[in-house]
């Protein structure tokens, strides 16, 4: 395996976090986490969604302030109060949404804001820019003409430019968050070669990944987080993929899901065959029957939301058939809503609600045509209908006139759900229904899902929380790389199985 690099295991670590805790309203994101970063080492950080990985990294790079804990740079205690402070210690994060300017070339992007001045006053020294850029690119083994405009580069190449940019600012610690999520196998290999070169140069890398194969191919040390705590910090030689999965996933079940699983599913409500869309998904086959809650699992980026959007008509379908209760549909969101399909999107603030409008206005929006077939809108009737939903779902608001943006996350989600209940939907697509919601409201939402299912609705539920899927769904499809790679029946539906199918083995 990869041995620790120069001075790594003996001297003080390049950087160390000790006893970091961070609390957000309603949830303890980090609980006494310690983390060592050694020069020339690739330190893998694993954990499920919500385990605290990105929070930890944000604390490291100064974007968040820890509530308690200490930082040490080469043994000396230091403080990180801002991204600028982190930069002083050579900490650089490779962002997911890149900070590149499309119509400038690679070299200009690398040195953005730090251009070289030429001897002619006012002008930049282009030759030197290209020479220096080439030097940095070579150090990671990226052989490309630095005069290439960035918009012509693929995602993998752009990532290389981001790395070069960080290096050019004397980064000693690179944090990479799922860098291979959008890369092909060959591009991944190229990235690894670059990382190995960096290691030899003494750079430390913190690498967040879900791909177990990568963890063992590249990692020198592995830390696993779960529910905000560090559960293990091991060397690859001392562990195995199964052990890691167990560490990531094992937890006491403390949420009540209250689900009565469907013994006799009814007729097929949704039938999807060979669906492909211009969002990249292809060959999607799935069915949902009345009374069932069917899960759609997989890693972030595996295509789940794209499937949901294609079914609802929000993305353009390029192939395949979608049938609702036997009737073929290939429509638009307007058509889907009319037919009784509900879509509760992942991001309720930007896609599910008009934050500046009232609770009542939001609740009745999808049902306007049904409630007022003649076209005439009666505010008091709308308010009554909204109040019905407020009472039924127990939305914490003084009335339908309150502005939705002022409600808590859980109540906002209830408004979105109320919108579709008011419209009389019979088939529901939930995309991460409990994301960012407190435990109490989560339980209410699960009870609601159960009630809907018992009344005969069909539900397709996307969730990154494996526990949820296991305790709520009658069966589940697992996606990977924009396709469905497996279906798990009630008996087969375990967290471990989901994780295994969803990750590259």
């Amino acid at each position: 395996m990869n041995a620790g690099a120069v001075g790594g295991s003996l001297g003080a670590p390049e950087f160390e976090l000790q006893g970091i805790s961070k609390q957000f309203p309603g949830v303890k994101a980090l609980d006494d986490v310690s983390f060592e970063i050694r020069a020339g080492e690739v330190h893998m950080l694993l954990g499920e969604n919500g385990a605290g990985k990105s929070t930890l990294m944000k604390v490291l790079c100064g974007a968040y302030q820890a509530d308690s804990g200490a930082f040490f740079h080469r043994g000396e205690p230091v403080r990180i109060a801002s991204p600028a402070d982190a930069g002083k210690f050579g900490i650089a994060v490779i962002f997911q949404d890149f900070t590149l300017v499309p119509y400038l070339d690679i070299a200009q992007n690398i040195f953005l804001g730090r251009e070289f001045a030429s001897r002619i006053p006012g002008l930049t020294d282009r030759r030197r820019t290209y020479v220096e850029a080439r030097r940095v690119l070579e150090s990671i083994g990226f052989d490309i003409d630095p005069r290439t405009l960035v918009y012509r580069l693929g995602v993998a190449q752009q990532q290389m430019v981001e790395i070069a940019k960080a290096l050019s600012q004397d980064a000693r610690i690179l944090v990479m968050d799922e860098p291979t999520a959008a890369l092909s196998a060959r591009e991944t290999e190229q990235l690894f070669a670059a990382i190995r070169r960096l290691k030899r140069g003494g750079v430390a890398i913190v690498y967040i990944s879900h791909r177990l194969a990568e963890v063992f191919a590249l990692g020198d040390r592995i830390t696993v987080l779960r529910d905000g705590r560090k559960v293990a910090s091991v060397l690859p030689a001392d562990t195995s993929p199964d052990d890691l999965v167990t560490l990531m996933v094992g937890r006491a079940v403390d949420t009540t899901y209250g689900r009565t699983f469907c013994a006799q599913p009814g007729d097929v409500v949704l039938d999807v065959k060979g669906l492909a869309a211009d969002s990249g998904i292809s060959a999607i086959d799935l069915t949902v029957r009345a009374g069932e809650i069917v899960g759609l699992c997989g890693l972030v980026g595996s295509g789940r939301t794209e499937v949901a959007r294609a079914i609802f008509g929000a993305d353009r379908v390029t192939a395949g058939e979608i049938s609702l209760a036997g009737e073929r549909i290939d429509g638009s969101p307007h058509d889907s809503a009319r037919r009784g399909i509900a879509f509760i999107p992942e991001n309720r603030k930007t896609q599910g609600l008009a934050l500046a409008r009232s609770v009542g206005d939001n609740i009745v929006l999808a049902g306007l045509q049904t409630m007022f077939p003649a076209g005439l809108y009666a505010p008091h009737r709308a308010a009554q209908a909204a109040q019905v939903m407020i009472d039924k779902l127990r939305i914490a608001t003084p009335g339908p006139r309150r502005i939705v943006g002022l409600l808590s996350g859980g109540n906002q989600q209830k408004v979105v759900i109320g919108k579709w209940l008011n419209a009389g939907a019979r088939f529901f697509i939930f995309d991460e229904p409990t994301r960012g919601i407190d435990v109490g409201t989560k339980a209410e939402i699960f009870k609601l899902l159960d009630a809907l299912a018992s009344e005969g609705a069909g539900i397709l539920m996307i969730s990154s929380e494996q526990t949820e899927i296991v305790h709520v769904c009658d069966r589940a499809y697992v996606m990977r790389d924009q396709q469905i790679v497996g279906e798990l029946s009630r008996e087969q539906l375990t967290e471990a199985n989901i994780v295994r199918l969803g990750m590259q083995s």
């Binding site: 206005d361 929006l365 809108y377």
Partner: protein, 323 residues
């Protein structure tokens, strides 16, 4: 609503809007008071009627535009649209002698332009301010070419009643204004299409994902804006009894100003027709005041421009504060 619990924070939506409307009404009232002090001619029946008539006209232009701005769009072609519609209607009236054919032409032309704008924005996905800006120039060009520098004048008396006639001592355009205020407000607040338009302005993505046929509604608002421009052109024709190529030139900026002063946000989702009415009144009072005080008419676009900037700045400030 009776369910409001006492002691909880106020229901913010209605109170804030009504409060803002009251402030504006107050501002209008204050303006009247100030002007009556500054100029003896202000409170004369002739001047009051003039103000009412001008407000009515401005409101007619700005009413359709209000709907467009509610969707976070903009229609810069209104003035040019009025110009073209007026000139075409004028020729038709002259040629056929029938006022009704003229009315149909005017409204028809305005509607067609609106349809084109709507198509550019929804099908070709051109940002509304650029699409309508290009349209403005095209229409101006066509109008000038069509008129060839000539003027058409002398319309039948029955037609001129629209603009110059009175009923019970009040100019007819004022009745039209009230009628359209009623219809427009009813449309915006009491139809489902109105609700959908507000929703589109507040968050077009969420609206679409809630089943609102966004493209169809956008085309609708541009069509309405165009139709109202057509109607306004007829009233102008009826009033000044002549048509020439540059009729619509100076009308776009005041129309936008009226909508913005009235409290409709450029960023979409909030505003009302009654607000636009008050905005039209305020702007008319300001310009009327300038006239009475014998301030050079050349200052008018300047003042209007400054007012627009002020209104947008206040709006942007409020937006940032609430985020």
């Amino acid at each position: 609503m009776s369910t409001a619990a006492h002691g909880m924070p106020a229901r913010l939506t209605p109170s804030r809007d009504t409060l803002q409307a009251l402030y504006r009404l107050l501002a209008a009232g204050l303006l009247c008071v100030v002007l009556s002090f500054l100029s003896d001619a202000f409170l004369t029946p002739g001047n009051i009627i003039n103000v009412l008539r001008q407000t009515a006209l401005l409101f007619m232009m700005a009413s359709g535009l209000t709907l467009v701005i509610l969707t976070a769009g903009l229609d810069l072609s209104i003035g040019a649209n009025i110009g073209l519609s007026a000139c075409l209607a004028a020729s038709v009236i002259k040629a056929t002698g029938s006022p009704w054919l003229g009315v149909a032409t005017g409204i028809g032309c305005g509607t067609l332009v609106g349809l084109l704008n709507g198509a550019l924005v929804t099908t070709l996905r051109i940002p509304s301010f650029i699409a309508t800006y290009g349209m403005m120039w095209m229409l101006t060009g066509i109008t000038y070419y069509y008129m060839g520098g000539e003027t058409i004048h002398g319309f039948p008396a029955s037609f001129r009643q629209f603009g110059s006639g009175y009923f019970l001592g009040v100019p007819i355009p004022v009745y039209m204004m009230l009628l359209f205020l009623l219809i427009g407000s009813a449309f915006a607040q009491r139809t489902i299409w109105g609700q959908e338009i507000y929703a589109i302005g507040a968050n077009p993505v969420a609206a679409q994902l809630s089943g609102v046929p966004v493209a169809r509604r956008l085309v609708l608002v541009y069509v309405v804006s165009g139709a109202m421009a057509g109607l306004a052109s007829l009233i102008i024709l009826a009033r000044i009894n002549s048509a020439q190529g540059d009729i619509g030139e100076e009308l776009t900026l005041p129309a936008i100003a009226a909508v913005l002063i009235g409290g409709t946000s450029l960023f979409g989702g909030s505003g009302s027709l009654s607000g636009t009415l008050i905005g039209a009144l305020i702007l008319t009072l300001v310009l009327n005041g300038m006239n009475l005080l014998q301030i050079n008419a050349a200052w008018q676009p300047l003042i209007t421009g400054t007012i627009v900037l002020l209104a947008v700045w206040i709006d942007a400030r409020a937006r940032r504060a609430s985020e």
